[in-house]
Symmetry: C2
Subunit: 464 residues, 2 copies
């Protein structure tokens, strides 16, 4: 590849990425539906500008998918590249040093919502692709791009599309660049992702809100009832009290556990710089890696009900709602855990309260077989640029579409250029620019090497 | 008094009251400060129209107090009349059948925020006063009106005023009409009010919000920590776990308990029509009256933190806050309970969390000596109009200014024309118009009888 590309084009690239990041494509908030479309259109225009002869915005019941195909390169393998153009809501807004949709560089880092998750990484792949184009704008291999706009909000447009047209996933490998290095200087590929079961638990104890003066002492308070229920769904030692939840959990292999033990890990720094807490919680008898990669979790994300405005409203709330989620690990399934949660809430709630579980969104956990030769090619690219092959780790997060990307039989390469302190889903999300520039070189080299070695035996799939 | 006043003036009165109620004087919300002032000005104009030679809007650090003095009536006693023109926030708005600030009559009931608490009752007293004016607009006794705009929000303007100028409370009796009948047809005077300790409990466990995928399993969740703390501050049986809280509680006298046993009480109807729940909670070994009148309570009014918008934001919140309050009973004090709450939170919160209590607002409980002759006069007025003297009960709610109204030595008559199902602080608050019309006659008679008997021995106080 043209290794001078980044040095030559840096300022243009930074301007382009800032334009992409300045679109507030918050998929969870209906008010930003137009912004999600603008982000999709930005990708469409970019892909057309890169010379893709096929570029489509594919509609569905939600935010659209962007699909593109490179000019065909007969005899070369096909790579399916996935990413997402939507971002998390930026609140709490007042904790951002610079506004979330006004990308700002400070000390070599680009701060913006989506800088690392995932627009910055999508951009990295697009520019790696650009860097490998020849004089006729032909890439070294066949690339299919698929970018969704609902990764952060649990929409189904991409799943619906891939289930209806699984031939889109016929490729020699799928590349998902939505992850991070294990640590600075330690690139990673991921062997598993946790799944997700996101739900709203609603409790009603009264037909109407009451005055705490008049009825305080006898009226069941919906918030209190919900609080008691939530406190019982997970005990103070971190064990989730959903019956049979742990039964299906498949523990990591001995080899995997051994690999994790060899990773550099500074617990004090992790606590201080990443978790930013005074203590680590959770199941003490398991290592930190097991807790965040190989065990289910239960988290409370928000509680609504009663009055949280200024002043002193003395209401006994009739209804209260908690947004909660469980992370799932290999062996578990979203469908099963959703039912287990419903049963647990029904059994823990008092009989005199109306307690309901509404499953909002979820995905199954994923395990990836990393023995495919594509992983060796990726390792080589990482080693050339960073001096180190990628470590095999897991991710605690979830990318619900990953199983569907593998429908066509391609191995899914889960990797990325983020760093652990990027602040995904938090205020002041950032991307280190050095990671972006080296990432362009890494993936450019990967495209070229994979073009040579990756799919020697396969013919390009028919057009979708 | 002119007993044809109500029949003759009903439609004018309804129009006037609707005008007063249509002002959204929500004292807790800064955006409504101008509306609070408009409500104060409405009262000023009304009092001037009633012929009061002294009418003042008295400024302080908050919403103003309205003060007025009737034309002096030498040789007659002086009555201090208290009420408040501010109202509770109207949310949840979507549960109102007609909008909270568009007063609407349905089936003989006037629906509006403030209809019963307290604008409708203030209006009742003003119109009773009007009904007793002679041809020269002179009342049968000396009346001082004092109306505040911070009863619902915990401001101190009226307390500051009365502490600075206690001579304003020199009167033969103080009348507070902010209460309700015990039941339809059962007028009441109140022998005690509960006090209040309103606080925000804030918990911080992290320096920043985290992604539940990446850190779920090890990062302490501020909402979970707060939920566990709240669940421990009161146990499932309703006992508040604030050390020494119950120690100071003075139990009701045997005579009081005996009186309460004689009150008509239909528990099934109370549960169904008033509490609107399937069960009564709280300390089972005490009667319902003891639980709502003579025991402290702990209620959660709202919980803030994390994400409660649409969709599935998977945040581990760094900080969470609960709005809570305790109701206090005779023997307890706001200052002492505030400190007890602070100590309890400090001892129940885990050491690794930063837990803070911010006391927002409070008031001491009140006990009233109902042996003063003024109570007999009020009884007579009730008996004449309703056929029944007022029962002696307590109130679970709080009116923080009441102790200060008695600074000048006047007995405080706590009574009112509301009904238990008026829905104070709830959607669809209402006032039965029959209660308003009979209330005007009751208080008109009380003014006239008290003018004759109530203060025979006293001379009018010097002008304030």
């Amino acid at each position: 590849m043209d290794t001078s590309f980044v040095a030559r084009e840096q300022s243009r690239l930074l301007g382009e990425l800032s334009g992409f990041l300045s679109i507030p494509s918050v998929s969870a908030l209906p008010a930003h539906a137009g912004d999600c479309r603008r982000a999709a259109e930005w990708l469409r225009d970019e892909l057309a500008g890169l010379g893709c002869p096929v570029v489509q915005i594919i509609e569905g019941n939600g935010h659209p998918v962007v699909w593109a195909e490179s000019p065909p390169v007969p005899g070369r393998p096909t790579l399916l590249i996935y990413g997402h153009y939507d971002v998390q809501p930026p609140d709490p807004l007042d904790e951002w040093i610079s506004p979330p949709f006004e990308p700002t560089v400070r000390e070599g880092r680009l701060y913006a919502r989506g800088a690392a998750d995932d627009k910055g990484q999508v951009f990295c792949l697009l520019k790696a692709y650009e860097a490998t184009l020849d004089a006729t704008r032909r890439p070294p291999l066949n690339v299919r791009f698929i970018f969704e706009g609902e990764e952060e909000s649990g929409g189904h447009v991409i799943e619906d599309l891939l289930h209806a047209e699984p031939e889109r996933t016929r490729a020699d490998a799928a590349l998902v660049c939505d992850m991070s290095y294990y640590a600075p200087g330690w690139p990673a590929v991921y062997t598993a992702l946790r799944g997700l079961c996101y739900a709203e638990i609603t409790v009603r104890t009264l037909q109407r809100d009451l005055h705490s003066g008049t009825y305080g002492g006898v009226a069941p308070n919906a918030l209190e009832t919900l609080v008691r229920l939530l406190a019982r769904l997970k005990d103070a030692d971190g064990e989730i009290q959903v019956p049979k939840l742990y039964k299906a959990v498949e523990p990591p292999s001995k080899a995997e556990l051994k690999g994790w033990k060899q990773l550099p890990f500074d617990k004090a720094a992790y606590l201080r710089d990443e978790v930013t807490a005074q203590v680590l919680t959770g199941l003490r008898e398991y290592s930190v890696f097991e807790r965040v990669w190989a065990l289910p979790t239960f988290e409370i994300h928000g509680i609504k009900g009663g009055f949280v405005g200024e002043g002193a409203k003395t209401v006994i709330p009739a209804q209260a709602m908690a947004k909660v989620s469980l992370r799932l690990v290999p062996g578990q399934s979203y469908a099963k855990v959703g039912k287990q949660l419903e049963r647990a809430v029904a059994s823990l709630a008092p009989r005199w309260a109306d307690a309901q579980v509404r499953l909002l969104h979820g995905g199954d956990p994923v395990q990836v077989d990393v023995d495919h030769p594509a992983f060796a090619v990726l390792d080589e690219a990482f080693a050339t640029v960073t001096g180190r092959t990628a470590v095999r780790i897991r991710a605690g997060g979830s990318i619900p579409v990953v199983p569907d990307l593998g429908l066509g039989g391609a191995p899914v390469l889960l990797t990325g250029i983020g760093l652990p302190d990027d602040g995904l889903h938090s205020p002041n999300e950032k991307l280190d620019l050095a990671q972006l520039w080296s990432g362009i070189e890494i993936f450019g080299r990967f495209f070229e090497q994979f073009a040579e070695q990756g799919g020697a035996a396969s013919s390009p799939p028919p057009p979708a």
